[in-house]
Amino acid sequence: MEEHLVDWSRAQFALTAMYHWIFVPLTLGLGFIVAIMESIYIKTGSEFWKKTTKFWMTLFAINFAIGVATGIIMEFEFGTNWANYSWFVGDIFGAPLAVEGILAFFMESTFFAVMFFGWDKVGKKFHLLSTWLVAIGSNLSALWILVANGWMQYPVGMEFNPDTVRNEMVNFWEVLFSPVAVSKFLHTIGSGYVMASLFVVGVSAWYLLKGRDVVFAKKSIIVGSTFGLITSLFLVLSGDESAHQVALKQPVKLAAMEGLYEGKTEAGIVGVGILNPSKTLTNDEHEFLFELEAPYALSFLGYHDIHAFVPGLKDLIYGNEQRGIMSAQEKIDKGKLAVKALEEYKEAKKVNDILKAQEAKVILEENMKYFGYGHLKTPEQIVPPITPTFYAFHIMVTLGGWFTFLFAILLYLSMKKDISNYRFILKSAIWSIPLGYIAGEAGWVVAEVGRQPWAIQDLMPVGIAATHISSTNVMISFFMFATLFTALLIAEIKIMTKQISIGPDGGH
């Protein structure tokens, strides 16, 4: 398969995913914030809360449609650009997507119409229920697609069938409740809630700085920062669990996230650091030009034990007998055995040589765990791009810490002081909206760049997964998507900022 093809296919998927992730977090969180606001309206009967609900709902809708549009592309791109992958794992991966459609999307789209157009057409309680169902539906959608993603990072609940040359699901519950899927789901929706909170407090801060819609803005900040503070803490906990899962299931990714070349016990976390660009796997230069390290933290984060050994990239590539770590070369050898056994199995089946097929199958099963390695050429290929993985991880964590602090201080000032006087904090809240998007995208860079070269961890490298097609086709569609998505993003931002400047009174 030509080399450029894989790069273009990855670029196109990354483009779609990153655009998708501009819109989805707001949908995930704002849905609940709007539902909370409408609940207050129903409880108090106050027109003020109805107006507030409707304003945030308008912004929700502007953002929602484009999230739906980019989402459908992602679903179909599995087929259009990753056809081989689609067959190899479709038996597992397809099911969550179908269930997502049945259980989540219809709920979301049906009640979306009621939520927007039903104010005067259905009863108040049915309307409120619809608003909650939109929020729940959109979060359920996230569940199923993240289960699918979690499965790619840590494939479970399946067996390889050499007759169909694919993985087949044997345990749906194992797929659904895989610890990676669960922690990924919680951490991802958590980031959506924080993003939506940042959006609400940031937009409200802008009103306060302008000295307009003051009561509306202050009350929105209270709702936003309360929701934000609670969900930030949730984000920290789920992030901790995610890192623990990465340590157990994808140690190479963890080593890349921390720029850890040599394994060590009582390993610390580099809180702030600059990677040494001339450091390679083979030279003895120091990993960092500058670093501030929190001692023991990586051992604790990864393995919940401050004395634990955290393997470095070198251990994982070249092996570490003392720690019982197999070298990548050994895995490649086993992978090649598996790939060869599969071919022999198919040949034997073709000529109906049962005995030979049986022998081949035994070898295949013994080495199936390393099947994907059979397609790699060098051991070093198991290492993902270290620089983006390292920086994306640190940007995400640092910003996550800042958001928690910001929500706490906003909540304190709203309750105890007149927050309008704290202009610096208000400005920081506005600036934190783009930072929220950066943090979210960085999180996905860690997850997806960090798992390279695998489309499916250990089983299928991206080079094998892509559709057989000339790269020119994918290049053209890449630029078509890039142009269209960018145009739509500009439209969304312009419409959104206009609606914000019109404000909750709707200009009348």
Binding site: G101, F117, T497
Partner: protein, 377 residues
Amino acid sequence: MGFGSLDLLTLQQFWWVIIALLGGLFVFIMFVQGGQTLIDTLSDNEIEKTMLINSIGRKWELGFTTLVLFGGALFAAFPLFYASSFGGAYWVWMIILFCFIIQAVSYEYRSKPNNFLGAKTYEMFLKINGNLGVFLLGVAISTFFSGSEFTIDSNFFVHWQNNLRGLEALLNPSNYLLGLSLVFLAKISGALYFINNIDYEPIRLKAIQSIKINMVMFLLPFLSFIAWILTKDGFAVDTNGVIFIEQYKYLHNFLQMPIVLGMFLIGVIMVVIAVFLTIQYKKTCCIKTGGLGIVLTVMSVILNVGLNNTAFYPSVVDLQSSLTISNSSGSHYTLTAMSYAALMVPFVLAYITYAWYSMDKVKIIKEEIESPDAHNY
């Protein structure tokens, strides 16, 4: 006793029926697409146009969701089709996707101030979606009968043999028949929906007029399409999984599956009745009859091409690479698991119907759209 005790072929057939049902529902919901192409024809001023757009704008998401589910269900139930067709006929699907992305944003953005591209552009997007998107979907489905150029290797990886990557389907005039049929059918159902949903005489009268023209425009390609499939050779599969050409295969399928033939005939008759009652007696409720007719007709065509030992996605360059429901399906376990999930479908349809009923019992009137409080598209 449960889905797990059914044999694999039964599960595959069950899932093909679900796919056919989803296909039928999707074509029915294409009244949104059809309606989009009528927004200028049926309106004399901006208010009327806004009424039309708001009427279908409250339903577009259901169509979108059905398309997503259609894709997801194919992925899970018939993954080899998903890989072969989407990966192979790359450009047809890409263009269809483009037609749907631009639909998704257009309703919400069209009437908003500062919307960057201007209301006219978003209206054009809706028309592209309604004409080109629907047409290409018809062309793509038509290849189920005309065949495609691909091979499947021993790893079950697809190799498309035509560099046009799916666009070559447009070189076969027969494929235009289904494409055009769907475009005009969607216009008819769009008009039927407007007549039901909008309580405003001038629009209703114009909608009736449009149905008269579009019914003729629909019947020409549709009857030709039916004549084509009933007289053409088909792709059959024997008990050993060997694919062969059978004369009049699709005619035989109808005759050997009388229930499917019955669905087809009843479906077509229902559509005709719906159109007749609307034109002759100015009935406003015919979207229900016509809609059910569309679902039945489309279902019967999809069932015809998939069941009764038929290769539903044939390869004309390597007959044995053709896909059947047996050689392209998910495993027994996955089909079983998904069948349990599919038990939710009646429940989903029930709440959609309830929500739809609650919303539509109050028809759209001019005053609602003119009200300053309205959330308008």
